[in-house]
Amino acid sequence: MKIGIVSFAHPHAYSYLNKLINNQRVDWLGFFDDDQARAKEVAAKYQINSYASIKELMEQKLDGVIVASENAKHREQVCLLAPYRLSILCEKPLATNCADGLAMIKACQEHGSTLGICYPVRYLSSIREMKNKIKEGVIGRIEHITASNHGSYPGGWFAQPDLSGGGALIDHTVHVCDIVYWMTGARPTKVIAMANTMRAGLKVEDLALLNVEWNQGFDLTLDSSWSRNEHYPIWGDVKFKIYGNLGMIEVDSMNQVIEIYSNKKDKPLWSYWGDDMDQGLIDSFVDSIEKGVPFPVPAEDGLVSLKVVDMAYHFLRSEDNRAIEY
């Protein structure tokens, strides 16, 4: 199976490449990166073929391609890939806004390509277990969810609004909102957001709190801040606390660690040993291509969580204390 990668701008691209290398069914890998210096580095380090354009990469007759460029480039690149009738997997967020996301979906539909989205959190066993319990109704009707997706400051283009579309809010909100949508099927109806920038000179928000109402009668409070500093023992967290009328479920999905206190490290470490979510995601992508079916997380799902981002930025830009209800 021949898989291509478009851009190593997003650090997840390196992880996806490693997972592709791990997957026995992938026998050919090539990539295009619009940053020539980075392209040289990747080609040299991983010994894979680098191509000068998307067109040249596509001439290799690929089965699937992963787009891991800057958020703002997703639309143009996916639209360039769409005519090649292949399986496309796009890094989250789908785009910087829903209009772009919709255009990408339409382009793929028109040309017979399939478009999926990278939501690796769906591949964590604790998250799957949480979803199953909710489906079984063990805690009854969901009343409220408080969640967090705290992270470290990623730097680079993530802090350039023209490339990222925003800061911590767009980067992290989509993960949690996707899980809520996947778990319940509910759609967002109202978003209240508060954001701020703590790091000096940053052009995007690095702190964001949201409250999202969903059309099944529950609401979600979410902290999506890049609030973990360099000395925090782990990169961040993905946590859920779900209150139902009959009980509650708490998930701290990164709480499968060993603690390390080493004289050779400048900080304590919480070293993670749980499921490799990126491997789950990549294996699932390869499976779907082999079976000739679309990737199980369609781009349409990416649009639901991106809608929350659109609504949040709209609320932040408005001068009103009230949110529009959809």
């Binding site: 705290h150 508060m194 701020n196 609030s227 500093n229």
Partner: protein, 333 residues
């Protein structure tokens, strides 16, 4: 010093216990419910009365009001008019008007008013404040916190379940963190709150949940949740992320001893405790006694307790209206 504790509910008993440990304090209980009065009076080996008028007429220095919130104003004003210093449990009152009234009557009568914002006396919260002020984590950016989890409280006459009597969980419970945050990090500018509350009186399955997001005048963001929901026991935690680090108070690092009671035996409001030579409640009461003795203001100013009340009432209002509310009123975004 002679102290009369009014009300033998959960807090009344905690306060009685504290006064008994303090030197040169003579404490008496006033409780209307005869059976409860006799039981507690026997248990603590103290004198008691069921007549508040008798307490007002006697030579007490301090009257410590541990009654449901809706009674705070009436009992405080009566005590002040009788020339007694007043220590009153939090929240100070059901609304700001009542709170300011309590303060002005105390001032007119030349007596001190102390409010039980006990979180300020918890050593872990004091340590967080001190470490923050040492600059260990730079400037605060975002704060996450929680209080509750001990199930729905069953107070006297089920007053917690009566909104007219308690103004709901946010005013009763989250006022602690709101006060602490305003004390350490600055005034609250605007709030948004969501509330879920099941109908009916307190019982096995009654619950109330508040989830709030708010922003301080200096831009700091806060997510503070509270629940009267059975989360396996009462607890609280607070985490502050700043420009140069993070400070956290976590339950798993705060409780060196755990004892579990069978809930069939009947639950009252759980009081979080971490064994210390002096409990935070004793420290707050000692502070007030000393304020009276030395004629200095109490550690927690009434104006600050009222400021915290104002914020929690705005949260209550926000949950009803479904919109962000500016604490000072008007547009401030």
């Amino acid at each position: 010093m002679k102290v009369a504790v009014i009300g033998a509910g959960t807090m009344g008993k905690v306060h009685l216990n504290c006064y008994q440990k303090m030197e040169k304090i003579e404490v008496v209980l006033c409780e209307l419910d005869q059976q409860k009065r006799e039981e507690i009076s026997r248990l603590y080996r103290i004198d008691s009365t069921g007549d508040y008028q008798q307490v007002l007429a006697a030579d007490f220095d301090i009257i410590d009001i541990c009654l449901p919130t809706y009674l705070h104003q009436e009992y405080t004003i009566k005590a002040a008019r009788a020339g007694k210093h007043v220590f009153c449990e939090k929240p100070i009152a059901l609304n700001e008007e009542a709170a300011w009234n309590m303060l002005s009557v105390c001032r007119e009568n030349g007596v001190k008013l102390g409010i039980g914002m006990v979180l300020r006396f918890y050593p872990e919260y004091r340590a967080l404040r001190q470490r923050y002020q040492e600059g260990l984590i730079g400037e605060a950016g975002v704060i996450n916190g929680f209080r509750g989890g001990g199930g729905y409280p069953r107070g006297w006459n089920d007053w917690y379940a009566d909104e007219q009597a308690s103004s709901s969980l946010v005013v009763d419970l989250l006022i602690h963190e709101v006060d602490f945050i305003q004390w350490v990090f600055g005034d609250v500018r605007r709030v948004y709150a969501k509330r879920k509350c099941s109908a009916g009186r307190s019982g096995e399955d009654k619950f109330e949940i508040y989830s709030t997001i708010f922003q301080l005048e200096n831009g700091v963001l806060v997510n503070l949740d509270g629940s009267w929901y059975d989360e396996g026991g009462f607890h609280s935690w607070l985490e502050v992320a700043g420009t140069d680090g993070l400070i956290a108070i976590r339950p798993e690092r705060s409780i060196p001893i755990k004892t579990q009671f069978n809930s069939i035996l009947g639950a009252e409001v759980a009081v979080p405790a971490s064994p210390l030579t002096k409990t935070p409640f004793q420290l707050e009461l000692e502070d007030f006694v000393e304020a009276v003795q030395q004629d200095r203001p109490p550690g927690v100013r009434v104006e600050e307790a009222i400021k915290a009340l104002r914020v929690t009432l705005k949260m209550y209002q926000s949950a009803q209206l479904g919109e962000v509310i500016d604490v000072k009123g008007g547009q401030s975004r």
